[in-house]
C-alpha cells in the first residue's frame, strides 16, 4: 500500500492528532513515499502560515466594565462554587460521594486526552505562540468526552434539595434533581450509591430526574438554569434578580449586579437559554368586518405544560416562546358531554365575560371525542421504537421508559400486539410483534433494554414502520410509539431523513406517537414537527406520573384516533363582534380557504380527548382602542345579511375526516351570547381561563389585561371542581410557586 498524498490522515499526522499505532503506520508509509513526505512538510508549513496570520488578527477585549464584573464575581474557590457557599455542607455525604465520582469520571477522561498544558506554549501575555509539536502524543479513544464535560456542572447544581424551601413543589423537584443526577452517575460508575439515591427518592410520588440532565453536548451552559443556585435566601435572591429580567428570561446559574448591568445595557440582551423553541407571537385582535373567518387546526399536544411545570418547579420562569397557551389549556380534561349522535366528537361553546378584561367576552370552544370503552377498543398493533443511544442513560430517559411502557403493556389484551425496535448506532428488532397474552415476554424484553452507542434514527424508524405494516390490523390501531430524547447525534442528516421517512410512512395508515423523554425539551420543536408529519401526537414525559397520564389514563386518546385533520373555522357576526383574538394556537393557524381543502393536513383527535380553544371577543362598537386602518376609499363597509340580525355571536364550523377517510365532513354550530358574567360561568370555563391567563402572564402578552397571578389563583380555585387526578391542584400549586417568586422580588424592590 502506498498512501495517497491527499489522505486526510497525513494532515492528522502532521498536526500530531494520531494515536501511536496510526502514527507508526503513517511513518512507515512516509519512508516509502516521497510525495507523502512532501505533503506532510507542506501541511506543516501551511499550518504555520495560517497560525501566524490568525495570530496577527487584532486582539479583542472585553470592556473595562465587563472585565471588572467578572473579576468581582470570581473567587479563587477550589471546591465551593460561589453562589452555593454552603452546598457541600448541606448536601453532606451524597454530594461528596458524587463529587468523588466526578473525579473518577474526569480522570478517566483526561487520561484519554492530550494534555492541554503540554500542547501549548504561551508567551508572557498568555498568548499561545505555538504548539509543541509532539507527534508522539497518545490520544486514546475516550468515552464520550462531551457528555463528561456537561456532567461537570452537576455537582454545582445538585445540592439545593437540602435547603428547606417554602414551596412544596419546588422542594419536590429539587429532590428529584438530586436523585436523578446521583442515579445517572451510578448508572455509569458505582452501584454503591444506588441505594443511597433510592433512599433519597423514597416518599416521593414519582422518581424523576431533572430534565436538566438532558442534551449533554449541546448545552453545558444551560444545564444551569433549572438548578438555580442554592435555595433558601440564596434562591430568593436569585429569583428576585432573575425576575428583574424580562419574564422570558430563563435563569442562568448566576445572578447579581451583572445581570442588572447586562439588562441595563439594552434590549438586545439575550437570555442564554439554549433550548430550542420556535418563536411565538401572540395572535393579534382582528376586526370582524375585515377578517370574519378564523381558521385553525386543533392541537391536542400537551408537552408545553409539562415543560412549564419543569421550569416553575425548579424556581424559574419559562422562556416566553416555550409557553404555548393551547397546549397548557389542553393539558387538562374538561367535562364536556360526549357526542350523542354518530359524530366522532361533540362541540360545546360557552360565552362569558373575560376575567382579565370584563368588558370583553370570552368564548370557550370545547370538543369532546367519543369515549371508547376499554373492552370495545379496537385491537392494537403497536411498535415501540426506542432510542437506546448513549444519551438515553440518565434515569429520566431510558430507565423511565422501561418503567413507563409496562404501564401501557399491562392494559393491553390478547387482541393487541406489541413489537419493540431499538435504535442506536445500529437498529434492531428486539421483540417481534407479539400478542399481549405473552405479556411476560414483552415486559422482559423491555426490562433488558440497555443504552449505549450513538443514535441513528433513520434505520430504526424504517424497521419500526415495516414491522407495523407487516402486522397491520385493518380497522384497528396501528401505531409506532417513538420514545427518544430527540438527540439524533449520529448526524443531522438523520434528523431530516427521519422527518422525511415519517412523512412518507404516515401514508401507510400507521400513526405515530412521539414521547419526548428528559430532554429539557431541547429538541421540542423538532419532535413536535415529527409528530405532526407522522399523523401523530406528542407528549413530553418527565415523570412516571406523566407516563401514567399519557399511556394509561389517556391511552384511548393517545392510541385511538377517532377523527383526523380536524379543523375549526369560526365565522364571527360583525353585527355583534367588533374584533376577536384566538388565544394560543399561534402555529396552528390556517388560511380560510384551507378549511375546505381536504389535502390540507390538520390535527388528530383521540378517543375521549377534549380539545379546548378560547377566543377573546371585543363587542361591536367597543373596538375603538384597537389599532385600526383607514376607512376604505372604494368600498362601503361590508353589507350584512339577514342572519347578522339573528343575535348569533358566531358560527362554529368543524371539519374532520374519519381516521381512514379521505373526504371531510362538516359540523356547524351557531352560538349566541347570553351575556353571562364569568363569575356565573362553569367551573371548566373558569379553570380554562385561569390557565390561559397564566400563559399570557408568562408570555408577558400585551393582551393579558388586568390578569395577575393572584387573580389566576382565585380563578383556578373557583374552577378546580372535583379534580380526581389532582392535575388542577398541581396547577394551583404552580401558580402559587410563580407568585412566590414574583412577590419575593417586589418586597425587595
Amino acid at each position: 500500500m502506498r498512501i495517497d498524498p491527499n489522505d486526510a490522515r497525513l494532515t492528522a499526522y502532521a498536526l500530531g492528532e494520531l494515536d501511536e499505532t496510526e502514527q507508526e503506520a503513517i511513518e512507515h508509509e512516509l519512508l516509502h513515499s516521497e510525495a507523502a513526505r512532501q505533503a506532510v512538510d507542506e501541511i506543516r508549513a501551511t499550518a504555520e502560515v495560517l497560525k501566524k496570520e490568525l495570530g496577527n488578527e487584532p486582539r479583542l477585549q472585553l470592556s473595562e466594565g465587563q472585565r471588572s464584573s467578572i473579576e468581582r464575581r470570581f473567587r479563587p474557590a477550589k471546591r465551593k462554587p460561589l453562589f452555593a457557599p454552603s452546598r457541600v455542607l448541606y448536601a453532606g455525604g451524597a454530594v461528596l460521594a458524587a463529587a468523588s465520582l466526578f473525579l473518577v469520571v474526569y480522570l478517566n477522561w483526561s487520561a484519554g486526552r492530550i494534555s492541554l498544558e503540554n500542547a501549548f506554549d504561551t508567551d508572557i501575555n498568555g498568548r499561545i505562540i505555538g504548539r509543541a509539536s509532539s507527534p508522539r502524543t497518545v490520544v486514546q479513544e475516550s468515552p464520550k468526552p462531551v457528555e463528561v464535560i456537561s456532567k461537570q456542572s452537576h455537582p454545582v447544581q445538585q445540592t439545593p434539595e437540602q435547603v428547606p424551601t417554602k414551596s412544596a413543589v419546588v422542594q419536590l423537584d429539587k429532590e428529584r434533581r438530586g436523585g436523578g443526577i446521583g442515579t445517572e452517575l451510578i448508572v455509569r460508575n458505582d452501584a454503591a450509591l444506588q441505594s443511597l439515591v433510592q433512599a433519597a427518592q423514597t416518599g416521593q410520588k414519582e422518581i424523576v430526574a431533572s430534565s436538566a440532565v438532558a442534551t449533554p453536548m449541546a448545552q453545558p451552559a444551560m444545564l444551569k438554569p433549572t438548578a438555580g443556585p442554592g435555595g433558601g435566601a440564596g434562591a430568593h435572591s436569585f429569583l428576585r434578580k432573575f425576575l428583574l429580567q424580562d419574564t422570558a428570561s430563563v435563569s442562568q446559574g448566576y445572578e447579581s449586579e451583572e445581570q442588572k448591568t447586562l439588562r441595563d445595557k439594552g434590549s438586545h440582551r439575550q437570555n442564554f437559554n439554549t433550548e430550542a423553541y420556535d418563536r411565538v407571537v401572540d395572535n393579534p385582535f382582528l376586526r370582524a368586518t375585515q377578517n370574519p373567518l378564523s381558521t385553525f387546526s386543533i392541537d391536542v399536544d400537551t408537552a408545553a405544560y409539562a415543560n412549564l411545570r419543569r421550569f416553575l418547579s425548579s424556581g424559574a420562569l419559562p422562556p416566553k416562546d416555550s409557553v404555548r397557551i393551547e397546549e397548557m389549556v389542553n393539558y387538562f380534561a374538561y367535562s364536556y358531554s360526549a357526542p350523542k349522535n354518530s359524530d366522532p366528537f361533540s362541540a360545546q361553546v360557552e360565552v362569558a365575560s373575560a376575567p382579565w378584561k370584563p368588558e370583553h367576552r370570552l368564548v370557550k370552544i370545547g370538543l369532546k371525542g367519543r369515549e371508547i370503552a376499554q373492552d370495545k377498543r379496537p385491537s392494537s398493533n403497536l411498535v415501540f421504537l426506542i432510542d437506546v443511544s448513549g444519551s438515553m442513560q440518565p434515569p429520566n430517559k431510558l430507565p423511565l421508559i422501561k418503567r413507563g411502557l409496562p404501564l401501557l403493556v399491562e392494559k393491553l389484551t390478547e387482541n393487541d400486539r406489541v413489537a419493540i425496535v431499538v435504535y442506536a448506532g445500529a437498529s434492531g428488532l428486539v421483540l417481534p410483534s407479539t400478542t399481549c397474552d405473552h405479556k411476560a415476554q414483552i415486559l422482559a424484553a423491555l426490562e433488558n433494554l440497555e443504552s449505549g452507542g450513538s443514535t441513528n434514527g433513520a434505520s430504526g424508524i424504517q424497521q419500526a414502520y415495516d414491522t407495523a405494516i407487516a402486522n397491520f390490523i385493518k380497522g384497528g390501531t396501528n401505531r409506532v410509539i417513538l420514545a427518544t430524547d430527540g438527540d439524533f447525534n449520529v448526524g443531522v442528516t438523520n434528523q431530516g431523513e427521519l422527518t422525511r421517512l415519517i412523512e412518507e410512512k404516515a401514508k401507510s395508515g400507521v400513526f405515530l406517537s412521539v414521547l419526548g423523554f428528559g430532554m429539557g425539551n431541547y429538541k421540542d420543536s423538532t419532535l413536535e414537527k415529527l409528530a405532526d408529519k407522522g399523523n401523530g401526537n406528542y407528549a413530553y414525559v418527565d415523570s412516571l406520573q406523566e407516563a401514567r397520564k399519557v399511556l394509561v389514563e389517556e391511552m384511548g386518546g393517545t392510541l385511538i384516533t377517532i377523527a383526523k385533520d380536524v379543523k375549526i373555522q369560526v365565522e364571527f357576526n360583525p353585527a355583534l363582534v367588533g374584533a376577536y383574538r384566538l388565544i394560543g394556537y399561534e402555529n396552528r393557524i390556517l388560511r380560510a380557504e384551507d378549511f375546505n381543502d381536504d389535502a390540507k393536513d390538520a390535527g388528530e383527535i383521540g378517543a375521549g380527548h377534549t380539545v379546548t380553544a378560547l377566543y377573546e371577543v371585543v363587542p361591536a362598537g367597543k373596538e375603538g382602542d384597537l389599532p385600526g386602518i383607514d376607512a376604505l376609499k372604494y368600498q362601503k363597509p361590508v353589507a350584512t345579511t339577514r342572519e347578522s340580525k339573528s343575535g348569533e355571536l358566531l358560527t362554529l364550523k368543524l371539519r374532520y375526516k374519519e381516521p381512514d377517510g379521505t373526504t371531510s365532513k362538516l359540523i356547524q354550530v351557531p352560538v349566541s351570547d347570553r351575556g353571562t358574567g364569568w363569575a356565573q360561568a362553569s367551573r371548566d370555563f373558569k379553570f380554562a381561563s385561569a390557565v390561559a391567563a397564566l400563559g399570557m402572564i408568562l408570555r408577558d402578552s400585551p393582551y393579558k389585561g388586568n390578569a395577575t397571578l393572584g387573580s389566576v389563583l382565585e380563578l383556578a380555585e373557583a374552577g378546580r371542581g372535583e379534580d380526581k387526578q389532582g392535575y388542577r391542584v398541581e396547577f394551583i400549586e404552580l401558580v402559587g410557586a410563580a407568585r412566590g417568586l414574583v412577590e419575593g422580588r417586589k418586597v425587595t424592590d
Binding site: K51, E53, L60, K78, A99, F102, A221, Q252, G491
Partner: protein, 182 residues
C-alpha cells in the same frame, strides 16, 4: 508544574481573562457577526465560569469555555434570526469546496491564508480556527462543535489543502505569477 499551573489557571481570573478573552471574543464574533454581542457572550461565559465548580473543570477548562461560548453565541444568533445555526446546515463536509482558482483571484490582492480561509464554508472556518487559532485538538473541537473527529479531520485536511495550494505556491504576497504556475 502542570498541575499547579492548572490550578492557577482556574483561580487567577486576571490571567484567565488575559489568556482567553481575545480568542473567545474572536470565536463568538465568527458566530454572532457582531462584536458587541460577541463581548456579551464572552462576559456571560466567564460569569458562568464563576458559578461553576472550577475544580471539576481542571484540565479541560479550555474546551469548556469554548463550548459554553459557542452555545451562547449560537443562541444569540438563533434568537436574532441572523442565520440558521451552522450545525444544522453545514455540519457535513461540503463537496463544493472553493475552486482554488476562484480563491486565487481573491487572494491576488490580499495574498494571505486568511483570505482563502474566508472562502470556505462557515463550519469549516470554525473548525480551522479552533484548530489553528485556538489550538484545540481534534477531540476537543469535536467536543465543542459536536462534529465527529473524522469529520473534523476531513474539514481541516480539505481546508488546509485549499490554503496550501494557494499560499505555499507564493512565498511573497505579491508574486502572482508563481502562484499561477503552481
Amino acid at each position: 508544574m502542570k498541575s499547579s499551573e492548572t490550578q492557577d489557571q482556574g483561580n487567577d481570573v486576571k490571567a484567565l481573562l488575559d489568556r482567553f478573552q481575545g480568542p473567545l471574543i474572536r470565536y463568538a464574533l465568527q458566530i454572532t457577526g457582531d462584536l458587541e454581542r460577541a463581548r456579551d457572550v464572552v462576559q456571560d461565559t466567564f460569569l458562568q465560569l464563576c458559578s461553576e465548580n472550577r475544580a471539576s473543570l481542571n484540565g479541560h477548562l479550555e474546551p469548556w469555555l469554548y463550548t459554553v461560548c459557542r452555545n451562547r453565541a449560537l443562541d444569540v444568533r438563533r434568537k436574532e434570526g441572523r442565520m440558521n445555526p451552522l450545525t444544522e446546515t453545514t455540519a457535513e463536509p461540503r463537496s463544493d469546496s472553493p475552486d482554488p482558482s476562484v480563491s486565487m483571484e481573491q487572494t491576488e490582492t490580499l495574498g494571505s491564508a486568511l483570505k482563502i480561509l474566508e472562502t470556505l464554508p462557515v463550519s469549516q472556518q470554525e473548525v480551522i480556527r479552533l484548530k489553528f487559532q485556538n489550538e484545540l485538538s481534534y477531540k476537543e473541537i469535536s467536543q465543542v462543535t459536536g462534529l465527529s473527529v473524522t469529520n473534523i479531520g476531513f474539514l481541516i485536511h480539505a481546508g488546509l489543502k485549499a490554503i496550501r495550494q494557494n499560499v505555499l505556491a507564493q512565498p511573497h504576497a505579491n508574486s502572482k505569477v508563481l502562484r499561477r504556475i503552481k
